[in-house]
Symmetry: C2
Subunit: 143 residues, 2 copies
DNA sequence: ACCAATTAGATTGTGTGCAATTTAATTTTG
DNA sequence: CAAAATTAAATTGCACACAATCTAATTGGT
């Protein structure tokens, strides 16, 4: 591995990620959604109730980040939060009708962001594969 | 471009970037550096004075982010900040002796992070090329 | 059944990240 | 040359991220 480039790679990852999120944020404004709110809604299936913990596992986020985001999504009317009756510690999250509606419009936003970045299908696949590799190889170490 | 994967790619980028930064943050603790402080120090050459604006261009960060970071680096003794005499609006930033010293140790941190992610040299090159492409293609739109 | 250990979510504190505004200095222009 | 426009940093406000702590609920062991 070429040492003098180590930093470039990590920094590129960081800079590109920020830039992509910035673009999402702009396009999500009409829906009154932030990027975090967006991925939270996308992670919820239409007829599904999941806990904050489960949602956090899908998004790699903890309750410290998710709790405020979900409260805001609730105020906007996109999700509902209910204490589980079987286990009072758990909070059940699910999409409202309005949340399901907005969720259906979101793929268009995503399509536009990808379009802007102008990458080829091959590059797209390469990038996805490498990132999945890195993230998966990271998982065992985290535990 | 396969539509149903659009989101996966952007999310992967976001999640991987966060994970890599998390690893940096852990390894940087002994040096009393955050990731942002780290890239700021790396962006400064040993015998160079640059303005906050210039530094921001290198790091894709604005004064709103950089000013507090640089003030903290100054308190830690890694950089110095001085008003330019030619143009009082500008703040000149440069590494102290201590900053130059710590800077020399940082490539080792970077090497360790790359090592942990276990990617092949080919993957490394692919990733770098695609990210550079995306970031460059994005730039004209920003201006 | 009781108490220690665990677990889920919320809260707190620190550090970004960025848009928007402010302030002070410099440059441009009529 | 003076007023207007521009520019550099700093400041403000909002929204994450995440570690650490807290609280309440549940579970496990005896």
């Amino acid at each position: 591995m070429p040492n003098h480039l180590d930093n470039q790679l990590c920094f590129l990852l960081y800079a590109t990620s920020k830039e992509i999120i910035r673009r999402y944020t702009m396009l999500l404004k009409p829906y009154d959604l932030t990027y975090t709110g967006y991925i939270a809604i996308l992670a919820l299936e239409d007829d599904e109730q999941i806990t904050v913990k489960e949602l956090g596992q899908r998004l790699f986020l903890d309750s410290g980040t998710l709790t405020p985001v979900l409260k805001k999504l609730e105020v906007k009317g996109y999700v509902r939060r209910e204490r589980s009756k079987e286990d009072e510690r758990q909070m059940q999250i699910y999409l409202t009708k309005s949340g399901i509606e907005v969720r259906q419009k979101l793929p268009e936003v995503s399509r536009q962001v990808i379009k802007q970045s102008n990458i080829t299908e091959q590059q797209y696949m390469q990038l996805r594969n490498v990132l999945q590799d890195i993230l998966q190889k990271d998982c065992p170490i985290k535990d």
